[in-house]
Symmetry: C2
Subunit: 211 residues, 2 copies
């Protein structure tokens, strides 16, 4: 509540306009998804010209990342982690995750996850972010079979989300202070199996066909 | 806020006393850990007789579970999941997790996880719960090598925490609505590897020996 109290006579400044645009963007992305939301409509909700949104945030991509308060765009790290021998891709992905989360970006990233867990609006944006940006980029870089890609990348998400929860959010020992290369050796093969190895035979009723 | 409004003349009742004891218990377990906290000291903080704490909550174990608002005590499910052929233990553990979280207990369990992520007091209690109760019980039931058990069970925690995050908290598709038996077939072997299969060769410097 205190955030909306202004000193008498003070005009809305650049910072306020940015915040108004970001709030409108969070609303729009959560309600309509990444593809459904438009800069024009976000500008309309914020009561500013679309050109000002482009001026402050550049692309819709960047506006999305800023609205979600993601400290580092993970999609920029994916090509480097995936490039090279296909057999080592699981280990390289885990090594990249640990490098980012063990760095100064880890604190803001943990704050973003905490927000997503406690706030349905942020959770919807994070879901959108994972599905539209991370999943698609991983599937494209690895040239995954489109029929298997959604399941493979959501399996990847379970292992990486769990690693982040146990090491950085809940901080369960001995995992929280374990040597990063030990974690790479232990968890890398799981990611390798989820992304690259043949999937196990599926049950004889199709996925989703349950009460 | 509305919860604390009382009708005039109403005396604190059984419900209030229970809540006061639970608040004192959360404080004590988070500050001193499960072993360090005592019923006597919790009763003292709550301003009640220790006999009343025993009367309301039975054992320290049950007080701990009630303070953490865990809807089902997972430790009671572990022996059933672990019993039987050692080769199927990974699949049976995942099947048990899915059965509980897909049931009516899933909602309250998700609420507990959300609290733990947003609240350091609850996070510390959850850490304690995982380490003292779940980890020890799994290690004992499986008769794990004590030198490897802490690492094996925290690896188990990463995969189960990630499964819960992706399926029940963030709800990423197609995993959120995937057939439970498909998830058992995909994730079970990971848990099997973490708990039972030989661990990979470790890096040549000891765990924890990093900057």
């Amino acid at each position: 509540m205190a955030r909306t109290v202004r000193r008498p006579g003070r005009r809305p400044g650049k910072q306020d306009t940015r915040e108004v645009i970001l709030a409108a963007a969070r609303e729009a992305f959560a309600e309509r998804g990444y593809d459904g939301a438009s800069i024009r409509q976000i500008a309309g909700s914020a009561g500013v010209d679309p050109a000002l949104v482009h001026h402050y945030f550049g692309t819709k991509d960047q506006l999305f990342l800023d609205a979600l308060q993601v400290p580092i765009d993970p999609t920029t790290l994916i090509p480097g982690a995936v490039a090279g021998d296909r057999r080592g891709v699981g280990e390289r992905l885990i090594r990249t995750v640990l490098r980012v989360w063990d760095s100064a970006a880890g604190g803001p990233a943990a704050a973003m996850i905490r927000s997503a867990v406690g706030n349905e609006l942020i959770a919807r944006m994070l879901r959108e972010f994972i599905a539209r940006r991370i999943f698609k980029r991983v599937a494209a870089e690895l040239d995954l079979d489109p029929a298997e890609a959604p399941l493979r990348v959501s399996l990847l998400a379970t292992q990486i989300a769990g690693l982040i929860m146990v090491r950085y959010i809940i901080k369960v020992e001995p995992f929280a202070s374990a040597d990063p290369e030990l974690i790479v050796a232990l968890v890398g093969p799981t990611v390798q199996r989820y992304l690259i190895d043949p999937l196990p035979a599926l049950p004889d009723h199709p996925p989703g066909d349950h009460p």
